[in-house]
Assembly symmetry: C2
Homo-oligomer: 206 residues x 2
Amino acid sequence: MATEIPDIVIGRLPIYLRELRRLQAEHDKLTTSSHELGERLGISSAQIRKDLSHFGEFGKQGTGYHIGYLVDQLCQILHLDQVWPVVLVGAGSLGTALAYYDGFRPRGFEIRWIFDTDPSKIGHEINGMCIQAISELEETIARHKIAVAIIATPASAAQEVTDFLIESGIKAILSYAPLHLSAPAGVHISYSDPVTELQRMTYYLG
Amino acid sequence: MATEIPDIVIGRLPIYLRELRRLQAEHDKLTTSSHELGERLGISSAQIRKDLSHFGEFGKQGTGYHIGYLVDQLCQILHLDQVWPVVLVGAGSLGTALAYYDGFRPRGFEIRWIFDTDPSKIGHEINGMCIQAISELEETIARHKIAVAIIATPASAAQEVTDFLIESGIKAILSYAPLHLSAPAGVHISYSDPVTELQRMTYYLG
DNA sequence: TTAAAATTGTGAAAAGTTACACATACTCGA
DNA sequence: TCGAGTATGTGTAACTTTTCACAATTTTAA
Ligand SMILES: NC(=O)c1ccc[n+]([C@@H]2O[C@H](COP(=O)([O-])OP(=O)(O)OC[C@H]3O[C@@H](n4cnc5c(N)ncnc54)[C@H](O)[C@@H]3O)[C@@H](O)[C@H]2O)c1
Ligand SMILES: NC(=O)c1ccc[n+]([C@@H]2O[C@H](COP(=O)([O-])OP(=O)(O)OC[C@H]3O[C@@H](n4cnc5c(N)ncnc54)[C@H](O)[C@@H]3O)[C@@H](O)[C@H]2O)c1
């Protein structure tokens, strides 16, 4: 039980959490089962049970899982018992949508600072936040001990931005720029590229 | 060689293609090697060779891969020797950013129609496209034989929209709504949820 | 011409992941 | 209290994916 937990297991926990929250919002039922959860997510119940068993025994035979309790446990495991402050770099059309997005806060994240290099954007406000010059990035991250950043710059700037973020102390980056980023061990990077997702699907279309 | 190719292999091909295009744009070198490509992507060279070997022998011993030729082959495999017309559902802040995004076209996709249910949005233009009522969706998809759609509606509408898209003939959907969607076999669904990505990373942060 | 270097494609081994199936334990109603 | 039903947690088997390592081929340079 104390061995290294596979990344692939960690990756499913947020999905479970998301669906449990939906169950909480929909039903007034207090419990669910690995079978119900799996049914709703297209995942086998055995897999859900095995995944959760890496972290403890959260269920009860005959009954299933208490939804609220499991949500709490998953939040603890994923370190979501706090709101993570987030830095956004790139205040273009995507960055602006992200800055206005109200779906981060209730799930544990909040974009609090926005940076850009375009002098015509610096000083303008987006959703109550002032777009700041990149020159202020390092001190902001240090002062507020920020660990999480989102990159929404063009691909051409993304590696340079990444290097600077990491140098400044950022430990997790979600990048929307369509390229692989290099980072030292200990820094976590996720990607969101709609085109690779679409291309993956068109393989299967005649 | 003629057996079923694993999904996980298909999923890496767009990444290879993306990096090959970057190589094309950067260098004037005409060839690359599995080692160079792997180095740039953080993937082992053996994996790249094995992946490609599912589809044929594209390389040359001692030399590596001709970049242009490999790009062409990957485009053929992924059915990117055409531009796929795409329907966008949901003209909110994210949908608007997507509608303006100029990164789709050069990689094989083009958003051509935008649908929404909000009467105050219908009739307005985004990037030269008129926002249309959902009631026109079915006929548009049929008339233009559209196979690909992007969902950028709130989660609460997404399953209903999905059902309608599929009923109308859509075969591949990229959804930004933060929930699992049900679809019959033969319909492909991909997801983009920044929060699950961030949550996956915070697991590793103290 | 020859030897060293580079590089592929691939069979086989290793590692990782998922599915199976069942002992165990709780619930509910008679 | 009992028996039927439900559902967990898990050891093991089956399957999938990655890595290894090398024969074969081409390039390069002496
Ligand atoms: N627009 C979309 O819908 C969409 C969708 C998916 C992915 N993306 C990707 O997201 C990224 C942003 O897309 P966008 O459409 O918002 O682009 P955009 O051109 O509208 O905005 C990019 C912003 O980044 C800023 N920028 C450039 N260099 C910078 C630097 N070194 N430091 C800080 N800021 C810098 C620019 O000034 C600009 O404000 C791109 O990589 C794009 O490929 C966009
Ligand atoms: N804004 C972001 O940066 C962002 C980032 C990631 C994911 N998302 C997700 O993307 C989706 C859209 O986000 P948003 O911020 O653009 O929301 P939004 O509220 O700005 O826009 C949603 C749009 O969908 C339309 N809509 C509602 N029901 C519809 C229906 N049945 N058919 C067609 N259109 C319908 C609404 O009229 C509205 O125009 C949400 O699910 C959100 O969680 C948004």
